[in-house]
């Protein structure tokens, strides 16, 4: 008895340890390295910053003083502050559009006949079978002045002049919404599908019209899914680099590009690291808020 229990505990502990080790090795350690660089001073040499610790003298000795200068400099510079705000707003708007498009789709799939749900979900996930980059390039072909979209609209006689979409902010939104939509639909579907249809019947029995039933039953109960989908879309969208670079007109002051400029153009690793740390900090705040919201919602869901 006791031996079997000990074995179970050991196995459970191993299973629990694994993700922690993973997070430690592939998230926390790299982050600490980046954070350490962000406190260092830039220099011309290998590496291009003054390491905070000196490993060569046998043992670890603090080799220079850590300073917050890089951060102070960032926040004094309206250019980088603006990049934050712009990235947050692009990510926020994209997330909202994803939610507006994704919610009806998730709802439709969840309400479809069970036999059809599988194939419909499959269609949502299907784009992942092609490389992300190829799909973004395909959008370039669709959106450009003489691309598919403009040829179609001109062929139909709807427009005379091609719509300039590629290399504008609009193209960035299209790209981000397109790329991240499945990440919004899947968690939404997961919560919507679990909802008991009897709840809606009860609402109808109590005299609620469908729209009313949606607002007071379906929508509140799906909040955990909305929160999850929003997080999964919003967080990567803030740091998005590839889509603005390929589809945008380079007029968009986004964090990813600003970071690349500092890192590669002026080879200022400490300032680039400070930007990255600040970006993470800027994400932790909304993330923490949403997390608290989600925790508050969960008991409600169980109660229902």
């Amino acid at each position: 008895m006791t031996a079997g229990r000990a074995k179970l505990d050991w196995g459970r502990r191993a299973v629990l340890t694994l993700p922690f080790v993973w997070l430690l090795a592939f998230f926390l350690l790299p982050f600490i390295i980046v954070a350490a660089i962000s406190l260092a001073e830039s220099r011309v040499g290998i590496p291009p910053y003054v390491p905070l610790f000196d490993w060569t003298q046998g043992g670890v000795w603090p080799a220079s003083h850590a300073s917050l200068d890089n951060f102070v400099q960032l926040f004094q510079d309206d250019l980088y502050v603006d990049a934050y705000l712009h990235s947050l707003s692009v990510a926020g708007i994209s997330t909202a559009i994803c939610l507006l498009i994704g919610y009806p789709m998730a709802l439709a799939i969840a309400r479809a006949a069970p036999a059809r749900r599988g194939p419909l979900l499959m269609l949502v996930v299907l784009p992942f079978w092609t490389s992300f980059l190829i799909r973004v390039y395909a959008w370039m072909g669709i959106l450009k002045d003489e691309g598919l979209l403009n040829s179609l609209l001109q062929g139909l006689g709807l427009i005379d002049q091609p719509l300039v979409i590629l290399n504008t902010d609009l193209a960035i939104y299209i790209g981000i919404v397109y790329s991240y939509l499945p990440f919004m639909i899947l968690p939404l579907y997961a919560t919507l599908e679990r909802q008991d249809p009897a709840l809606l019947e009860a609402a109808a029995d109590l005299g609620a019209r469908p729209w009313r039933a949606f607002l007071s039953v379906t929508l509140p109960l799906s909040l955990p899914g909305i929160v999850a989908g929003t997080l999964v879309v919003f967080i990567p969208a803030v740091g998005e680099y590839v889509i603005p670079d390929l589809l945008g007109g380079s007029g968009s002051n986004m964090l990813g590009k600003a970071l690349w400029d500092v890192f590669a153009m002026s080879r200022d690793w400490p300032t680039a690291a400070a930007l990255a740390v600040a970006m993470l900090a800027a994400l932790v705040l909304p993330l923490g808020l949403l997390n608290r919201l989600q925790r508050r919602l969960e008991p409600a869901e169980e109660g229902a």
Binding site: V44, G45, I46, P47, P48, D77, L79, D82, L133, K144, D145, E146, N167, Y241, V242, D245, L246, G248, G249, S250, G251, S252, N253, K257, A258, W260, D261, V262, F263, A264, M265, S266, R267, D268, W269, T271
Partner: protein, 371 residues
């Protein structure tokens, strides 16, 4: 840039292992890290056949990738090909390279003296690098689209890009700039009749002030995208590397599309920057002898002529001219005639401390059109 970045991130990991493994073996191998599509088909094979040294060959698409790898240290590479401006100059200052042993590179004496002299700005005393391939920065344009909008456009001048009255005419068909202050700022200074090599806050300010009101005329700033867009006719005027533009012109010619663009290339008459990619040996190169042998081999007139014939870039070995195909030798944008050549400049000196940061900031501001 980004596309390559992703591919190279993955590659970097692999190479890290390869390089660590490589350090252990003998001198019979050389680890080369070069730009993609930058040797002739049989160059490496010939080298191995003649010397018995195996070549481990990896490629990159951006100076930034090479730089990041070298700056971390212990890249494991023996020969690398950084661009003189601004990378090679800064890397020398950081102490990345090992001085070349000229006694092991006898072919170096065949290198053009003027090119060596201009390289001294980046590499004082020519201690660390020898020139590999060179290409000016200039303009590529869609002849029909430009003629339609401005019949006698000053196509041989930077006015195409920097004169507000001229460039605004082409806004509708798409004008693009390289996303690199070290190309655009010197070009603007040349256009304004100032010293293009000047790297002072005052010169930077002057150039950026002149550029700011022009920003709305440029569809985007990018150092990669312009190639496919110009070749397909989606843009009509591109600031670009002549080596790239030559490939764009060829691709447009070979295109089977009915309305394929007719691309012309010019080196502006006011003068232009020449990019020199140099061969250099990292200080911690595991096989320095093999590296010297490889550089010496690449500088052999017949070998480097093969490479020029294959990639369409000019080289600095004068004796190689006899082996170079006439259409490349006589192309005025690859081997410019004397009058143009006299106005070319190359190799900016390394930026003074703090200037880099200032320039990057001004550039980000310009790119995102914030005045």
């Amino acid at each position: 840039m980004s596309v390559r970045l992703f591919a190279h991130m993955a590659l970097t990991l692999l190479l890290l292992f390869a390089a660590t493994a490589a350090r252990a073996d003998d001198e019979k191998v050389v680890n080369v890290y070069n730009w993609s599509d930058y040797v002739a088909k049989d160059t490496l094979e010939k080298f191995t056949r003649e010397t018995g040294i195996k070549v481990r060959y990896d490629t990159y698409g951006d100076n930034e990738i090479l730089d990041a790898k070298l700056m971390t240290g212990q890249s494991g590479y023996d020969v690398v090909f950084p661009s003189a401006t601004p990378f090679f100059a800064q890397q020398i200052k950081a102490g990345i390279y090992r001085p070349l042993d000229r006694s092991k590179i006898p072919n170096a004496k065949g290198v053009d003296g003027d090119v060596m002299t201009s390289l001294t700005r980046a590499d004082p005393g020519n201690l660390y690098g020898l020139p590999y391939m060179m290409s000016a920065t200039g303009l590529g344009y869609n002849v029909d689209a430009i003629n339609r909008r401005m019949p006698n456009a000053p196509v041989d001048s930077w006015r195409m890009l920097f004169d507000p009255a001229v460039v605004s005419r082409f806004k509708s068909c798409g004008v693009t700039l390289l996303d690199t202050p070290t190309e655009v700022v010197p070009a603007m200074l040349t256009f304004m009749g100032r010293d293009p090599l000047e790297q002072t806050p005052a010169a930077l300010d002057t150039a950026m002030h002149a550029l700011a009101p022009l920003r709305a005329n440029y569809r985007y700033l990018n150092s990669d995208k312009y190639r496919s867009d110009l070749a397909s006719g989606d843009t009509c005027l591109a600031h670009g590397y002549i080596g790239d533009l030559v490939q764009v012109r060829a691709r447009a010619r070979e295109s089977k599309a009915a309305n394929k663009p007719n691309i012309a290339i010019v080196i502006p008459k006011e003068g232009a920057m020449v990019n020199i990619d140099v061969m250099a040996i990292p200080a911690d190169a595991p096989h320095p002898d093999a590296a010297h042998a490889f550089i010496n081999f690449l500088l052999r007139p017949d070998i480097i002529a093969d490479i020029t014939n294959a990639v369409g870039y000019a080289n600095a070995v004068n004796a190689s001219l006899q082996y170079i195909s006439p259409e490349i030798k006589n192309d005025p944008v690859i081997y410019p005639p004397a009058d143009i050549k006299a106005r070319l400049f190359s190799a900016l000196p390394p930026a003074p401390p703090g200037f880099d940061r200032q320039r990057t900031r001004a550039w980000t501001k310009f790119r995102t059109d914030r005045q």
